[in-house]
C-alpha cells in the first residue's frame, strides 16, 4: 500500500526501450521531475505516446533533445524543430494520430474496449491500412486501443493513497493515460493527507496509481 517512492528509484524501473505515455500539452501537465530524471539517467530507445513533443527545452522536448526517443505516437510535432530534424534524419519514427483519435485510443485501452468507430480521418491518409465499418450508412474508421508499459502522470495534488487532483488545462491527457498503462507513476506538486481532497475533486482514483514520487529534501 505504500506508494511514495524516490524519484531516482521510480525512473530506474523504466527500462531502455520502454513505451511511455506522458501526460501534458505543450509542456503543461507534463511531469517535470520525471522528465529531468529520465534525461539524467539517460534512458534510451523510448517510445513516447503523447499529444506533442512541446519545444526544445520544454517537457517532452527535453527527451527528444537528449536523443532518448526512438518512436513517437503523437498528434503534433510542428512546434519542435528538433523532433522534425531527427525524423528526417531517420533517428526518430513518428506516427501521427488526430488528437481526438489519440484521446479515444488511449481511453479505449484503459476502459477495456476493443476499439472505437470514429469519423475523423475517413478519406484521408490517416485511413490507410485501417478497417472501416459502416453504421447506418455512415463510414467510420475502426481505431484500436493504445496502451503502454508506463504512464508518467502530472497532477496538481495527490494524497498519500495516490488520488490525483488536476488543474485547468494541465489536466489534458493525464486522466486517460492513468487508466491505460500497465504501470502508472505520478508526480504531483503537493502530496496531502488522505481525506483532504474531496471525493468529487479526484480526477484519477488512487487505485490506478502504482507509484507516487515523493518530495525530496532541498526541493523546497
Amino acid at each position: 500500500m505504500k506508494k511514495v517512492i524516490g524519484l531516482a528509484a521510480a525512473v530506474e524501473m523504466i527500462p531502455d526501450g520502454a513505451a511511455l505515455m506522458i501526460g501534458g500539452f505543450m509542456g503543461a501537465g507534463t511531469p517535470p521531475r520525471l522528465i529531468d530524471e529520465l534525461v539524467r539517467q539517460g534512458r534510451r530507445n523510448l517510445t513516447v505516446i503523447a499529444n506533442d513533443t512541446a519545444r526544445p527545452g520544454v517537457g517532452i522536448g527535453k527527451l527528444v533533445t537528449a536523443k532518448l526517443v526512438r518512436r513517437v505516437i503523437t498528434s503534433h510535432i510542428g512546434t519542435n524543430p528538433e523532433t522534425q530534424r531527427q525524423m528526417i534524419a531517420g533517428d526518430i519514427e513518428v506516427e501521427l494520430v488526430p488528437q481526438g483519435t489519440l484521446a479515444e485510443r488511449i481511453r479505449a485501452a484503459g476502459f477495456g474496449l476493443g476499439g472505437v468507430l470514429t469519423p475523423t480521418g475517413v478519406g484521408t491518409t490517416v485511413a490507410e491500412g485501417k478497417q472501416t465499418v459502416a453504421v447506418n450508412g455512415t463510414v467510420f474508421l475502426l481505431e484500436l486501443p493504445l496502451t503502454a508499459d508506463f504512464a508518467l502522470i502530472n497532477a496538481k495534488r495527490a494524497d498519500y493513497y495516490g488520488n490525483l487532483e488536476y488543474s485547468l488545462t494541465a489536466r489534458n491527457f493525464n486522466p486517460a493515460m492513468a487508466m491505460a498503462a500497465a504501470t502508472v507513476i505520478a508526480e504531483a506538486e503537493d502530496i496531502v493527507p488522505v481525506g483532504v481532497i474531496s471525493p468529487d475533486a479526484v480526477g484519477t482514483p488512487h487505485v490506478l496509481v502504482d507509484h507516487l514520487i515523493g518530495k525530496e529534501r532541498g526541493h523546497g
Partner: protein
Amino acid sequence: MDEKALIARRVALELKDGDLANLGIGLPTLVARHLPAGVRVFFQSENGIIGMQPLPEEGFAWSDLTDAGGSPIGAVPGAAAFDSALSFGLIRGGHLDVTVLGGLQVDEEGHLANWMVPGKMVPGMGGAMDLVTGAKRVIVAMTHTAKGEPKIVKRCTLPLTAVRRVSLVVTDMAVIEPTDDGLVLREVAPGITPERVLEATEASLIVPAEVPTMRLATAPS
C-alpha cells in the same frame, strides 16, 4: 487595410451570440478581437477549456492555464475545464458551433487541405482533422493566394484534412461558399472586382448577377 485584419473582421460577423467557437492558431486567432458589441462567444481551447480569453494583465500568467500553443491565457467567469477526451467529444459530437481554421488549399468540392506539405512540412494534424470533421460550421480563413499561386483550386494536390465540405471560405479578396453546385462567390473585398477574384482562383467559381462588397465588423478601438 492589413489583409489579415480584413479577413478576421469578415469572419467575426459569422459568429453568433452564445456560440461555442474554436479558433485555429495564427490568423484565425485574430477573429476574437473583432466580435461585434453584444455578441458573446465562448472560445474553446482544445487542450481543455471553454472560456479562454487573452491574458488579462501582465503578471497574471499561470502554468496550468495555457492555450493549445502552450502560452498563458486567461479564463472568463463561467469557464469550464476538462480533459482531452471530453474536449474532443465536444468537437466530434457536434457540440462546437463553429471552427475557424487556416488553409493551404480548398477545392471545388469544398475540401480543405491544411495540415501537411509532403516532403516539406509535416507538423502533424493536431486537432485539425477532428475540428473539420465534427464542428457544426467550418470556416476557412486564409489569404487568397500564396506567392502568387491560387490556393482555391480545382482539386487539392495536398493531403486532405477531411472529406467533409467546409461551410465558408473567407480570404482577403472574397467570401466563397461551397455548395452542391460548386463554389459560389458571395462577396468581394472592398476595391476588388469579381473578375480579379476569378483571375486569382484556379477553381471554377459560380458568380451571381450581383456580388455585394464584403461586410466587415468594426475594427477594435
